[in-house]
Each structure stands twice: as C-alpha cells, then as structure tokens.
C-alpha cells in the first residue's frame, strides 16, 4: 500500500492535474492541491490501493473516475480529483477553461465528443475498477 504522505499528495496533484487539463498543472496548482489535500482525512486501505494503482497506471485515471462517478460517486479518490478541479478553477491561468469569453460554432460538436468519450470511459472504467479492486 502506498503511504498517504505529502509526496503522494504531490504525485496525485501532478497526475490528476494532467488528467484534467491534458497538460502538466502549474506549480501554483500543485502547491495549492498539496495544501488542500493535507486537510483531507487519510484514505482507507482500499482507496489508498486504488490511488497507488492510478499513479502507476495514469491512463486509467479517466476510466476509473468515470466508473466511480456511476458506481461510487462519494469515493474519496474521486473527491481528490474533484479537489484538484476546484483548485484549477481558482487560478487565473485556467479561467478560460471555466469561463468562456466567446461562443464557438464548433462547441456543440465538441460537447457531443465529450459525451461520447464519457460513455466509453465509463464502460472501460467499470472493467478497470473491478480489476484494480481485486489486485
């Protein structure tokens, strides 16, 4: 089981930030996430094992997040990804991702793409989550 320490908080910040943004998060985002994560209760054994799995298999973060949203929406692991999202929303460099200034004609198509991806991720995630839980 991976220790739930400041080091893993930082690792989680890097992994969850990259998952949410598609690029490495800023140093400010990591610093804030580490501070915020330190206020959370420690993960239990099952959730800590899942985090360790995700840090070793970062491709699985999206599918597992999607599966958790359906199967265990109050999961503390999803709570940590959510915490990173809240931190990112409060940093000026990421504001355009949360407060669009213009209306794009391709927005409807992009949203349909997101919806399809969300569906695919959920299906894959349910398999991955089952495997990760048994590992």
């Amino acid at each position: 089981m991976a220790p739930d320490s400041a080091t893993t908080d930082l690792e989680q910040g890097v992994a969850f930030g990259r998952y949410l943004l598609g690029e490495p998060p800023s140093q400010d985002a990591l610093r804030l996430f580490a501070r915020a994560a330190a206020t959370l209760p420690p993960l239990d054994q099952r959730e800590a094992r899942l985090v360790a799995f995700l840090l070793q298999n970062r491709w699985a973060i999206g599918p597992v997040d999607a599966a958790l949203a359906l199967m265990r929406p109050a999961s503390p692991v999803r709570g940590r990804i959510f915490l990173m999202l809240a931190v990112l929303e409060c940093l000026p460099e990421y504001v355009p991702r949360f407060l669009p200034a213009t209306r794009s004609p391709f927005e409807h198509v992009r949203m349909a793409g997101h919806a399809l991806r969300a569906l695919g991720r959920a299906l894959l995630g349910m398999v991955v989550l089952t495997i990760a839980s048994r590992a």
Binding site: L20, D28, T39, A86, P92, F98
Partner: protein
C-alpha cells in the same frame, strides 16, 4: 431582546424608536466573519477570476472548507465568507433527526446575514390562516419596506409580493438567462395563466438607488460572498444603527438558555459562549427572537413540563433546467446571484395555497459545485458544465405548509451538550400532501418546459432545507389565554405577563411565499404589543 436576526432587529428598532423611553439590551451569540472580510476584493466576479491569484482563499476557503464533497444538504450554498453563519451551531444548538435538517445560525444578524432577499407580503387569507391580523400587518409591511428598501416591479406577480406596498424602487436589470426566460413568458403569457401560473420580477430587499449610506446595487455578482456597498439589506445594518443610540445596549457571546418569570421582572439565563460560564440578566420584559427552533428550546427549558411541540416548514426542492438557446453562450456577461424571477402557482386565483418558485441563473457559485453532480468523468464533466452553465436555470420550489403528517420537536436530556439537552425533530408529510406536492412539481416542470426551459434534474435536499420554519408555539385566540406553549395574539407567551416571542413561532400556517418580510412585520407587531403592555 434575544437575537440579532431579521426579527430581533425589527423588534428592537420598534422598541427603541417607539417612544416611551424603552431601554433595550440585546443578547446575542454574535458570531462574525473575522477571516474573510479583509481579503474580499472590490472588483466584480469576472475581473476577480481573471486577475486575483489569491481568489482560492474566499472561493474555496483558507482551509478549503468551501469544497463540498458528499450529499447536497441544507445550506449547501454557503460560501466560505458566509460560513460563520453556522459556526458553533452543532455544539451549542445540537439537533438530532433522521428526517429534518434545518439551518440555524448564531451569527451577528442571524440567518438574515445570508438571506436571499426575496420579499413577499402574504394575502389577507394567508395572514388569517397564519393567525396574523391583516390590517395591522399591512401597516407593518410598509414600515419594514421603508426601513430595508425593496426593489421590484408592479407586474403579473406583484399581487403575491408588493401589491400593497408604496415607495418600491425599480427592479434590478435582468441578466441574459433571466431576460430570455422572461421574454418567453411574455410571449406565452396567456397559456401560462391558463395553467394557473403567474411570473414576475422577484421583489428584493436590494437597493437600486443609493439611500443614505447604502449604495445602489453594483452588479458585481459577488452576492454570495460579501455585502460591499450595503445595497443588500442585512439585519446587522439595523443593529449597527441601533448601537449608536444611548438607550440600546448590545452584548455578544451570550447564548440565552431559559428565563424565570418573577412578579415584576424576568431573569434571563444564558451561557457566555467565549468563557463557557453561566450568565444572567434581569429585565422588565423579555422579547425572544432567536429563530423558531431557538425560541422553542428557550421556552421549553423554562418550564417543568417538556411537551412535544409542532413545527411548520415549507417543503422545498429545486429543478435544474436548461434553456437550449443559451447553450455555450459567453459566460462573461453580467450575472446576478439573487433570484430575478418568481413563478407562482395559484390555480384558483384566490391568492391562498399558492406555491412559489424562485428562479436563479448560475455562475458565481463556481462551476465545481455543479460539476460534482454530473455522473461522468470529471475531465468530461467540466467542459460540458461550462457549456451548460449559461443556459442553466435553477427553479427553487416552495410549497405551503399546514399541519399534518408526523412532525414534532422534543427537548431531551444530553449530558454531552453545553445546555445539557438536545432537540430531537421528526418531520414527515401526509400521503395526501406528498401527492399534491409531486403533482405541483410536475406542473412547474410542464410550465417551465412551455417557456423553453427543460428540466434535467430534480434535487430534494430534505425537509428543513427551505430554511423557513414556524408554528412551534402557535397563536391561540381562545378566551382563556393560558393554554401552555402557545402565543396570545400580539406575541405574548400564554400564561406569561412579560415574555413575548417575536419570530415565526406563532404562525399557524406557513405560506410558500418567502417568509422573511412577514417575519419582520410580525416582529414589529410583537414589539408594539410589548410597548402597549408596558
């Protein structure tokens, strides 16, 4: 006077300004925001978001206490700068229930510090059902309105809100979300009326013109975070004013627990919330205004018998609707955090048994709060929610409440509590009431759909989430005048000569319309009654 909320402030102002040389001591827990007031910026929401690197401090909280995780419950909209409203409540006002989840406050200004500002005057039929005198209440409504400042429009909804009020300020300008819905209503007005609904601008205790030291609403969209400019009325403003008077004394850090009535005075007992010591004060007359649940605790503790008390609370849920025409619209235009439109369901046209929806657009509570509700991966949820947010219309539906079903409050011993007791609450509606409520919600859904706003989700935060409570010590107009645990008309506690209750404890019926204006008007009547008896 016990409590500094909307009712305490209005009752105290009435006593102080009523002549007769009354001297008022206000006892109050008086929790204040001592953490965020100094760091909240003066800019508007969008400029803050794009420039302030420290914005997480007030949007998420210094301890990240504003990042919600878990079930949506009562008070979910409280942002870090407003969380002092509930500070010390779990310890000092313990309440246990599986079915009732109220919000109480020990803040300076009480729950009024986070009030949504909606103002509705009850109809005569509603006032009579509640046990309130219509004519006197009309005068009290006007007195309160002149004091706090109300903006609104004399439109289709005015009969449910401000019809009888004079000197109403012009309404605030609508944002794109509200304007789109309102335009749709005006086009389909006849059909909406035929379905028993009326829509109009929400009357708000919000200044649209500067009055005295209070400024006009500045459209900063920081309404959930600060009171800058004081355009939004908060009861602490009245208490601050009163504190400049020689005949008014404010004492904070006091939780009043009970009273003892003596032949010529009342001894009030409490706890010093800072030092944890017992305190007591003697007064000629005691006016209780700590909120309905607070008054229930104090009154029950003050007598040997510990009865079950009734309770009224508006059933509440909200619908998340989407106006497709606004999908993906730029999110940087003007937005308003307060309700801008109200929708009333009055199928008989009698202005009685009316259900009310307050309609909101969404932005300054941040995207993350709604992203967590999406049952999909967060990296897909936030762009989708960003796309949906400009089109998102929240419809908070309040239903009227009369007695029925199983509901009770009991004060039970609890050694772990500083007051040595805990309030136990049960709340359920009768099957008939549940059925009627569901039917009405379906009607609200249908009418919103006819206006081009499509429901995507219904959220039921549970009983107590309306934050409208009443009826624990119902008015009794019987001749004997000593039925225990009831109030005489005018607010005096039955069987008592010197104790008055100025909050909503006496209401025998709770209309769905926003209760705060009526609570303040009733508080004035109670204070006038206390002055008359003096």
């Amino acid at each position: 006077m016990v409590g500094s909320g909307c009712t305490g402030a209005m009752a105290a102002a009435t006593l102080i300004e009523g002549g007769g040389g009354a001297r008022v001591l206000m006892l109050d827990a008086g929790e204040r925001d001592d953490r965020y007031a100094g760091i909240l910026p003066s800019g508007d929401f969008v400029s803050v978001r794009t420039t302030d690197r420290e914005q997480y401090r007030y949007f998420l909280g210094e301890d990240f206490e504003g990042v919600p995780w878990g079930k949506v419950g009562t008070g979910a909209q409280l942002t870090p700068p407003r969380r002092h409203l509930v500070r010390k409540v779990p310890e000092l006002l313990p309440l246990e229930s599986d079915s009732f989840f109220p919000l109480e406050s020990l803040a300076y200004g009480g729950l009024g510090a986070g009030w949504g500002l909606g103002c509705c005057a009850y109809s005569d039929a509603e006032l009579r059902a509640a046990g309130l005198p219509p004519e006197a209440m009309r005068a009290a409504y006007q007195w309160v309105a002149d004091r706090i400042g109300i903006s609104g429009e004399r439109d289709d909804a005015a009969q449910y809100t401000i019809a009888h009020l004079e000197r109403v300020l012009p309404p605030i300008e609508m944002d794109a979300n509200a304007a789109h819905l309102h335009a749709s209503y005006l086009r389909r007005r006849r059909r909406v009326h035929a379905a028993g609904f009326r829509m109009g601008r929400t009357a708000l205790a919000l200044l649209t013109r500067a009055v005295g030291e209070r400024g006009a609403y500045a459209y900063r969209d920081m309404d959930f975070y600060d009171d800058r400019g004081q355009s939004a009325y908060r009861p602490w403003m009245t208490v601050d004013e009163l504190r400049k008077r020689e005949n008014f004394l404010y004492r904070n850090n006091v939780l009043v627990t009970r009273f003892e009535e003596m032949p010529d005075a009342v001894r009030v007992h409490g706890i010093d919330t800072a030092a944890g010591e017992a305190v007591s004060h003697v007064c000629r007359r005691l006016v209780l205004a700590p909120g309905v649940l607070g008054s229930a605790r104090i009154v029950v503790r003050s007598f040997d018998r510990k009865p079950e008390l009734p309770i009224l609370c508006n059933p509440y849920c909200y619908l998340a609707c989407i106006q497709p025409a606004l999908l993906g619209a730029p999110a940087r235009g003007r937005r308003v955090g307060f309700s801008q439109l109200s929708l009333f369901h009055d199928p008989t046209g009698s202005n009685f048994d009316v259900a009310m929806a307050s309609i909101y657009s969404y932005r300054s509570l941040m995207l993350f709060r709604i992203v967590r509700e999406a049952p999909i991966a967060l990296s897909d949820a936030y762009p989708i929610m960003r796309y949906l947010a400009p089109a998102l219309t929240l419809v908070g539906i309040h239903h009227p409440d009369a007695r029925g079903g199983r509901r009770s409050l009991r004060l039970e011993p609890c050694a772990a509590s500083p007051t040595a007791d805990v309030l136990r609450a049960d709340f359920s509606l009768s099957e008939d009431a549940e059925r009627k409520l569901r039917d009405r919600e379906r009607r609200f859904t249908r009418v919103m759909r006819s206006l081009g706003a499509y429901r995507i989700r219904r959220v039921d935060p549970g009983h107590g989430s309306s934050i409208h409570y009443a009826g624990t010590l119902p008015f009794d107009s019987g001749d004997s005048g000593d039925k225990p645990f009831t109030l005489r008309p005018g607010g005096r506690l039955s069987g008592s000569a010197r104790v008055y209750v100025a909050d909503g404890s006496g209401f025998r019926y709770l209309p769905a319309k926003g209760v705060t204006l009526s609570l303040m008007a009733n508080a004035r009547l109670t204070a006038l009654s206390a002055l008359r008896d003096a």
